[in-house]
């Protein structure tokens, strides 16, 4: 299937600083694609390029298999960095400008403002809103006209816990409608809950990408407990089955090499005459996986 977004080998430099280096990504239709990375990893630059505000130095990107254009951007709801609105205009007028640009009905403003709980403030000037409210207004603008693709850069920025939960629910709701969502976020727990695919950026390069469950399944450690843990440890090292083994109290935390699983450990222990009293595959959180990738 043709991807909704195809980024091919884009690079962007700011003077001597490399913001992005040969980045390639493919975002399929209906997927929720998380872009992760520490500060300065190139997340926002990537999103700014695909939304047309920054030109890449090299490489290309296509939306719906076509070169990017203003007409295509009208079909995409995007929130990049901070909400940008006219401070002296009220909420309804600010959204009217967006609706006109996107060619969407002005009547939709009521729906999106109600969705983000801002309808009661529709006549308030933008500069009278709190940071969280501004972020919610930006989300209203993104949802205006019910676009098929959403590009969200830190959508929960500045929101209180209740606001974060609201945003998560909105994103989940949009994902359930089979919309394509590209999401950059620092809140890895959110990404893990919402995203189907993820790419991890570091210093402008993609260091890992794929389906979230595949990425998390890779290197899942096997945890065992037995009376002869030292014997098991040395035996495993000799066979070359394990990539690393660490002791965690009475337990051994074994990271297996590719192609081996918990079943292999169990069989190997049985062959060695070692009785395992505990065997589990410990699921890594996206956060721990992310931190490991970033450390490498």
């Amino acid at each position: 299937m043709e991807p909704i977004l195809n980024i091919h080998q884009i690079s962007k430099h700011y003077g001597r600083i490399t913001a992005i280096q040969d980045l390639s990504l493919k975002v399929g239709a209906g997927s929720v694609f998380g872009i992760l990375g520490p500060n300065g990893s190139g997340k926002t630059t990537t999103l700014a390029i695909i939304t047309g505000v920054i030109s890449p130095d090299n490489g290309t990107y296509q939306w719906y298999g076509k070169s990017a254009s203003a007409a295509i951007r009208k079909k995409i709801g995007s929130l990049i960095e901070v909400p940008n609105f006219y401070p002296y205009l009220d909420l309804a007028r600010n959204l009217t400008l967006v609706a006109r640009i996107k060619g969407k009905p002005v009547e939709d403003i009521e729906r999106v403002l109600k969705l983000t709980n801002l309808w009661y403030r529709k006549k308030s000037r933008f500069d009278t809103l709190s940071l969280g409210m501004k972020q919610r207004l930006a989300l209203s603008a993104v949802l205006l006209g019910d676009p098929d693709v959403l590009v969200l850069d830190e959508p929960a920025n500045g929101l209180d816990p209740e606001g974060i939960a609201e945003v998560r629910e909105i994103i989940k709701g949009e994902a359930e409608k089979q919309k394509t969502i590209i999401l950059a976020s620092h809140i890895l727990d959110e990404v893990e809950k919402v995203c189907t695919h993820v790419a991890v950026l570091k210093k402008g390069k993609s260091i890992a990408q794929g389906r979230v469950h595949e990425l998390l399944a890779a290197d899942d450690p096997v945890v065992v407990e037995c009376d002869e843990s030292e014997k098991l440890k040395s035996s495993l090292i000799r066979t070359g089955m394990s990539a690393s083994i660490e002791k965690d109290g009475n337990k051994l935390v074994i990271v297996l090499k590719s192609g081996y699983g918990a079943r292999d450990v169990n069989e190997f222990a049985h062959q060695q005459g070692i009785v395992l009293t505990h065997l589990e595959t410990r699921k890594k959180s996206l956060e721990s996986q992310f931190l490991e990738l970033i450390k490498q």
Binding site: T51, A70, R73, I76, F85, I101
Partner: protein, 274 residues
């Protein structure tokens, strides 16, 4: 296109600074022409009333209005600078406008403000002209009305200069200061290094010469600007004022500079990150 125009309209009419500057522009012009009309200069053979009669008023009012073009240029700098300050140019592109649409919106705004200013001059010219002109004829009324269009081009040219500076510096205060400095100091000083005939081709000179200072002595002495009248007091012929380029050439040059400034603004908008 309609949505771009409607959006510009929404932006300006809700913006207090815009309304204040337009009101100030209107009131200042009205006050100057009103106060000047009430001046009682008692020099035998001279009367300021002649300035308010057709066709002299078509020269006099656009010249007075040209003093306030600075306000119009500041207005455009403000409206364009705001787009950078609020990062709304960036947001508009994200939302689906092309960079050419950004340019189109501001060019529309420049034209709209120039039309307003021209209509203001027309309105007051008609009001004062009909009050002060005694021996009214169609020929007198129509003569020199083209200066209104020349004034329109001048206003557009001034605002285009301001627009370019706002796009170039992306900072309202800096663009306003540099516009004023360039107009009042930098270009006049720079012109001094060139021979007199070359000085007439500099942008601010070309633009300001579109509505040259009327020949007050000649007009107020009762000469109705008949170039064939050898008895007139003509300051240019007397060598007191420098010779200007012909109006058509000035007009062409001003249009050329306007196109150049807008073209440069377009290049900057297209090439730079928002």
């Amino acid at each position: 296109m309609k949505s771009i125009i409607l959006n510009e309209y929404t932006k300006i009419w809700s913006y207090m600074a815009f309304r204040v500057i337009i009101l100030l522009h209107f009131i200042l012009f009205f006050l100057v022409v009103l106060v000047t009309s009430r001046l009682d200069i008692t020099i035998p053979g001279f009367s300021t009333d002649y300035l308010y009669q057709f066709p002299n008023i078509w020269e006099f009012f656009p010249w007075v209005a040209s003093w306030f073009n600075l306000l119009l240029a500041i207005l455009i700098i403000l409206m364009t600078g705001n787009e950078y300050t609020f990062r709304t140019f960036r947001q508009h592109v994200i939302d689906g406008l092309s960079r050419f649409d950004l340019l189109t919106g501001k060019v529309f705004l420049i034209i709209a403000i120039a039309v307003y200013s021209m209509l203001m001059v027309l309105l007051f010219s008609l009001l004062f002209g009909f009050v002060f002109t005694r021996d009214m004829t169609a020929g007198l009324f129509v003569k020199k009305t083209y200066i209104l269009l020349v004034y329109f081009v001048q206003a557009v040219a001034y605002m285009s200069t301001g627009f370019l500076l706002a796009i170039l510096f992306r900072n309202t205060a800096l663009a306003i200061v540099l516009f004023i400095l360039y107009r009042l100091i930098i270009e006049p000083v720079f012109r001094l290094f060139f021979p007199p005939e070359a000085r007439l081709y500099f942008p601010m000179k070309v633009i300001s010469n579109l509505t040259p200072m009327p020949e007050f002595l000649s007009i107020s002495s009762g000469n109705k600007a008949d170039p064939g009248n050898v008895d007139t007091l003509n300051l240019r012929e007397m060598g007191i004022l420098a010779e200007d380029l012909p109006v058509y050439l000035n007009l062409l040059l001003a249009l050329g500079y306007t196109a150049l400034f807008i073209g440069l603004a377009w290049l900057l908008l297209r090439r730079r990150n928002l």
